[in-house]
């Protein structure tokens, strides 16, 4: 099942669209919960509203369980961490299904030859490890493998992997102290600029939304994209 997440459903729809296009391209059968999908509660956990999340968590798990799903893939680093770690860490609830982030799924698809990579002109990008995916969950290599599979070279930022810097959107800051979120995004974008690449790939809709908006506002010449957007653009020859 593809778990879309609220950010990709409402705010960064390109991520949802790109993910579905890739899955179809790779001829993987999947379903979504459609309009029955509800917030997983990730943001509420960050706010400390742990009691309120418990109901949401149980409800979400039951909905997925009732569909007899055993693998859930999501393009959201926040939802991923919530399913794979937080429900257990904060609520003592273990979801009865396997959770994958799209970067893991994509790495797998590519390794199994389910996507034929066309002949592509070389490209140079940089990659931002989202906190929720990298430092918190240890997923560093899969997104990089996917990028490299499309004849693309990654120039690492000064702070990457475990040392990656936050984009500023985490911890509920985007709603409470928006100005600070933007300031931190600017710091991260400046680090990305130092790599002298034109594209910044990442794997979290919060990071994409925040850094993209900040880059636009401040006229920082770097294009921020989700990994799924990057892949589909490469497949379709638009990048």
């Amino acid at each position: 099942m593809y778990w879309v997440g609220c950010m990709a459903s409402y705010r960064v729809k390109e991520i949802a669209k790109s993910t579905v296009k890739i899955l179809k391209h790779a001829q993987i059968s999947f379903e979504t919960l459609g309009s029955n999908e509800t917030c997983c509660g990730s943001v509420l956990i960050r706010y400390g509203m742990l009691e309120e999340v418990e109901k949401l968590a149980k409800q979400t798990i039951t909905t997925i369980e009732n569909k007899n799903i055993n693998t859930v893939a999501t393009s959201c680093a926040g939802c991923y961490r919530t399913f794979a770690k937080d429900y257990y860490e904060y609520l003592d609830i273990k979801p009865p299904f396997t959770v994958l982030h799209t970067s893991q799924l994509l790495a797998d698809i590519i390794n199994n030859g389910k996507i034929s990579v066309p002949d592509l002109a070389p490209l140079t990008v940089t990659y931002h490890d989202p906190c929720h995916l990298g430092r918190h969950m240890g997923i560093f290599e899969e997104p990089r493998q996917v990028i490299k599979a499309f004849n693309t070279k990654i120039i690492e930022m000064k702070n990457s992997y475990m040392n990656s810097n936050c984009c500023g959107a985490g911890g509920g800051l985007m709603s409470t102290y928006r100005e600070l979120t933007a300031a931190i995004a600017e710091d991260r974008l400046r680090e990305a600029l130092e790599t002298k690449t034109r594209y910044l790939i990442t794997t979290c809709p919060f990071c994409v939304y925040n850094m993209r908006k900040t880059a636009e506002t401040l006229n920082i010449p770097i294009q921020v994209m989700d990994l799924t957007e990057f892949v589909i653009k490469r497949i379709e020859g638009k990048l």
Binding site: Y10, K17, V20, G34, S35, Y47, E51, C131, G171
Partner: protein, 435 residues
């Protein structure tokens, strides 16, 4: 109570607008981290050392109540006095009492966050006692009437132009922006204060339970003057500064400079066990020769026992206040000392919750992005983001919910998404050209 959010938010926006300050902080913080990484490479058995540090701190906190008793016995055995202050008020009163007993007019201090916590300077000044900070950074902050912005480098946010102006004013001479010229001016200004002071007040970086030894780490050497020149020395420290043995305490001071300033060792580590003494005349012990005749140790609780009893936050007491977590923090690098009340940064929000209450910590506690760079930089591997999340949970229960968070919750409950968008539009994206 309802204004805490708006007030704090405005402080953040104001700080963000002072670009030269945030740039100075960021540069310094990054430099310390770089130095720390280099220093770590130079230490041979660093993993072993860190493992030992974690064991020591855990052991110290696990049996803290026993060790407090042991410290009392040890320090009294060497002729010092011991006092356990339950509250900030009690600690301040005790200091004042000692000052009054000695008719003290001038007090010199070496850097202590604990005295900052209890606002000791303000308290003594209210009682007409002059207090002079002697750590250069603290001295600058004090003279400029600013707030410290870092655990170990309190004046990190002040550019040198401003400092040279300050010293020119204080000395009545033209002091250039050359740092050596500034330090020379400070040396001249403070030297007479050390000699004239009636009382010296210091903090402690570690205390050994078995010997009652106070360990003080400095680079400038001011700690030595403060604890040695005046006839009376008062040391004020939180109860968590205790370590089981003198060897343990030394290991803490061994690791501290690496994480605090990126030095493999500081210039000075003072070990003070009781007041100055001699037995040179007929081998009869007499207290007070060149150093202080009196040593008073005031251990401060001020909410720490509550922390100790709280399984969600007990870990916090293991913190050695190195500030390494601050230096890597993206929020700290942008807003410096604004990120906290008395205690700065994510770990600081936990301290503040217990020492100053929920109202003071609410704003800063919601400022953490939970990115976890701090946990990675911490020599004790404290799970700071998890504690911040738990602290937020307590804040929510106490009624400190940030209005935007409340709105998101209402939206989720009503529409299933944080934005309050209609449920049926969740799938709008599917209707677009998906071949």
């Amino acid at each position: 109570m309802k204004d805490w959010y708006e007030i704090y938010k405005n402080t953040i926006i104001e700080t963000l607008s002072k670009e030269e300050i945030t740039k100075t902080i960021k540069k310094a913080a990054q430099k310390i981290t770089e130095n720390k990484d280099n220093a770590l490479k130079q230490i041979k058995n660093v993993e072993e050392l860190l493992k030992r540090v974690r064991e020591i701190r855990q052991n110290a906190i696990d049996q803290l109540e026993t060790f407090i008793k042991e410290v009392k016995e040890s320090i009294e055995a060497v002729g010092g006095t011991f006092y356990l202050a339950k509250t900030a008020e009690e600690a301040n009163k005790k200091v004042l009492e000692i000052c009054e007993e000695h008719e003290a007019k001038l007090v010199v201090k070496s850097k202590s966050m604990t005295t900052e916590e209890i606002s000791l300077n303000e308290y003594l000044e209210k009682h007409n006692i002059e207090v002079i900070e002697t750590d250069l950074g603290e001295f600058i902050i004090q003279q400029l009437e600013e707030k410290p912005s870092h655990f170990v480098a309190p004046a990190i946010h002040i550019p040198r132009e401003k400092i040279s102006k300050l010293f020119s004013k204080l000395t009545g001479e033209k002091i250039s922006q050359e740092i050596t010229e500034i330090t020379l001016a400070a040396r001249k200004l403070l030297r007479e204060k050390f000699i004239k002071a009636d009382i010296g007040i210091s903090g402690a970086n570690a205390i050994a339970a078995d010997t009652g030894t106070i360990l003080l780490v400095t680079n400038e050497g001011n700690g030595r003057f403060v604890t040695n020149a005046p006839p009376v020395h008062i040391c004020i420290a939180g109860i968590e500064k205790i370590n089981p043995t003198i060897e343990d305490a030394f290991i803490i001071t061994r690791i501290l400079p690496i994480y605090a300033t990126g030095q493999t060792m500081t210039s000075y580590i003072s070990l003070i066990t009781g007041p100055s003494r001699t037995a040179d005349i007929e081998f009869t012990t007499t207290i007070g020769v060149h150093g202080p005749k009196e040593l008073h140790l005031i251990l401060l609780d001020n909410g720490r026992t509550n922390m100790l009893k709280d399984p969600d936050f007990k870990e916090t007491l293991q913190c050695i206040r190195c500030g390494s977590c601050l230096n890597v923090c993206p929020v700290y690098q942008r807003i410096g000392g604004t990120y906290g009340y008395k205690y700065i940064g994510a770990i600081g929000t936990i301290y503040t919750a217990f020492t100053h209450g929920m109202e003071k910590t609410a704003g800063p506690a919601y400022t953490c992005t939970l990115c976890a760079k701090c946990a990675q930089a911490c020599p004790l591997e404290l799970n700071i983001p998890k504690m911040v999340t738990k602290l937020r949970s307590r804040l929510q229960k106490a009624g400190y919910t940030a209005p935007p968070h409340q709105k998101v919750l209402t939206n989720i409950l009503n529409t299933g998404n944080p934005f309050g968008e209609p449920e049926q539009t969740r799938t709008t994206w599917m209707k677009c050209d998906l071949q």
